[in-house]
Each structure stands twice: as structure tokens, then as C-alpha cells.
Symmetry: C2
Subunit: 190 residues, 2 copies
């Protein structure tokens, strides 16, 4: 399981609290890894016990105390070791494609509407990513190695969303043609 490593990667980038992590996993990092705050706090306790991180309690006035975690050397070694190991390919579990697989069981208008919804959601995300690209990565050739690494994860997001939008368009178009060319075919289910 890579939740532990995803947390280590975030803490390596910048020491932070469970609460901060939850926010990051819900935003930028969330493009390639999602986790809820409950998962995070449980995992933090586990990897602190492992000795990969140490937490220092920070007392605050007018706010709850917080605990900021930093990588230990052992944690850093583990992370580097993990990065070095060959990675499995992503396992996809996409509801929308399961639905489309049995899509002939429902009126095509319904499929088209659903595809349009998804097209819009992905277009929105694409917009967000493109804004980030313009703001922070105007000149990709001149980035440091760290910068390049961040930029490449963003590029993956941009490509992914942009491809999703195009596919939705293709799918909607083809369904519209199919629909009109076989008008009698939707009253065929028992």
C-alpha cells in the first residue's frame, strides 16, 4: 500500500500536520492520490511507530494544539528505497465505463447526458491545471530537477483531463449518429 509513501512524500516536501496533509490530499496531491483525514491520522500513527517520521507538538493559543511531523533519516531512506523499486501499473476502476459497457440497456439520450456531465467536470479540472501551468511553469526548460518533477505530474493531469474531454466529445458524437440510424432499437429489452 502506497498511502504511507504518499504521506512520506508530502512530509519530505514540507513538514506538516495531519490536518495540512488532509488538505493537500484533497487538492493538488489529490490528483494522483486521495485520502480522507481518518485514513491519514491512522497512517500517521502507524508510520510514527515505525520510526519513519517524528512529530513535535506545537502549542497554540486560541487554537487546538497541533503536531507537526518531519521525516527521519530512516523514513527518508525508506522513501528512496520505495521509489527505486519497480512500480505496478495503475489499476483502473471506472464506473462510467462499466455503465457504458451495459449502456445499450438504457435510452442513449441518458448516456449522452451523463457523458456531457463528465465532459464538463473534466473540462473544469483541465482549466484549473492549465492555470497552474501558466502561473508556475511558464518556462519548463529552465526548471530545477525538483521543479521538473512537479511539472511532470501536472503535465500528466493536463493530458489526462484533456484526453478525457476529447473522448467524451467523440463518444457523444458517435452515440448521436448511432441513435438516429437505429431509432427502433431501444424498445427491445424484455
Amino acid at each position: 500500500m502506497a498511502l504511507a509513501q504518499a504521506i512520506l512524500a508530502c512530509i519530505a516536501d514540507c513538514p506538516c500536520t495531519g490536518y495540512d496533509l488532509a488538505k493537500r490530499f484533497d487538492g493538488s496531491v489529490g490528483f494522483f492520490w486521495k485520502a480522507t483525514h481518518q485514513q491519514i491520522y491512522r497512517e500517521l500513527a502507524k508510520i510514527e511507530e515505525q520510526g519513519w517520521i517524528v512529530g513535535e507538538t506545537i502549542l497554540q493559543e486560541n487554537r487546538p494544539d497541533k503536531k507537526r511531523y518531519s521525516l527521519t533519516e530512516s523514513g527518508s531512506n525508506h522513501l528512496v528505497q520505495w521509489i527505486t523499486e519497480p512500480t505496478e501499473l495503475l489499476v483502473i476502476k471506472e464506473d462510467l465505463l462499466v455503465k457504458l459497457f451495459s449502456g445499450h440497456l438504457v435510452p442513449p439520450e441518458l448516456l449522452i447526458a451523463e457523458l456531457q456531465r463528465h465532459q464538463q467536470s473534466h473540462a473544469e479540472r483541465l482549466g484549473v491545471y492549465q492555470t497552474l501551468e501558466q502561473q508556475f511553469f511558464a518556462n519548463p526548460q529552465s526548471l530545477s530537477l525538483k521543479g521538473t518533477c512537479s511539472y511532470l505530474t501536472l503535465r500528466k493531469g493536463i493530458r489526462y483531463e484533456s484526453d478525457y474531454v476529447s473522448w467524451c466529445e467523440e463518444a457523444i458524437d458517435l452515440l448521436k449518429e448511432t441513435k438516429t440510424s437505429t431509432t427502433s432499437s431501444f424498445v427491445r429489452e424484455s
Copy 2:
């Protein structure tokens, strides 16, 4: 959880056994949904109890007996109902991007090698999908609605893999440039 519905969708397409399902989830359907045989048998027991499928035991000679499942009307209704509901977007958990996020902690050569491995794997899958496209979907305009639906899931696979291959290429190129332009930067970790 959509495992139940993914199984229903397969059985709706063609009645089959748990063993058959496991093979399908490992092959074609596996592009958009993965499941092991243990998950499948457990889920089959659950959805048979629900009344969405019925199993008939088929006695065999020289082979273990098997149980072939078919959709009930209730199961078919449920599947249609599920397809009709709005779908959540896919939650991505991609190890490779987590590694890239902390990629500056390891020598860039290592990242490049890993990206090349992935590029090759995705290129292989792409080849498989493209062969299927040529064999079974030579003429997309003339497909039935059912054919169009299958074709569109395949198109998603083709786009996904092809985009992945392109991104790997982009990433490798950029890392090679970054590497040479900041040669001194990898001996900087404590």
C-alpha cells in the same frame, strides 16, 4: 461499491461462472475494472442472496462441477437503475506519480529507466487494443447501439494508453534536458 454492478453487467452480457468472470476481469473488462477471483466469489454469493442473479449447477465429468449465473428481472432492473444514477469521477491512485513527486530524491537516470518501463508496458497494451479495433470495429458508423457502447470503451482504452505513452516520452525528454543542465544537483541530499 460498483463491483456488484460490474459483475451484473458481465452476466447481462452473457451468463457465466465465477471462474469465467475472473478471466474476463483479468482480460478485456479488466481495462476498466479489476477484481480477483476471491472478490468475485464473495460478491456472487452476496448478489445471489439479494436475488439479482440465479445460479444453476452444471455437472461435469472429469472436471469440477460449475455454477452458471444468469440475471434475474430484479437484477436487470437494478442494473438499469444504477446506470441511470449520476456517476462519481474516477479516483486516481497512481504510484508512479507519487514517486515522481519525490523524484528529485533519486538519480534522474533511475526515473528515466522507470518511465521507459512504463512506456513500454503501455505501448504493448495499446497494440493489443488497436488490433481489437481493427478486427472488430473497422466501420464504427455502422455499429448497433450495443456495438457502439463496446467500441467506446475500447476507444477510451486506446486513448488512455496512447496518451500515457506520449506523456512518458515527454517526461523522459524533459528529464534528460534537466539532468544535463543541472549536473551538480544530485549530490545534495543529506
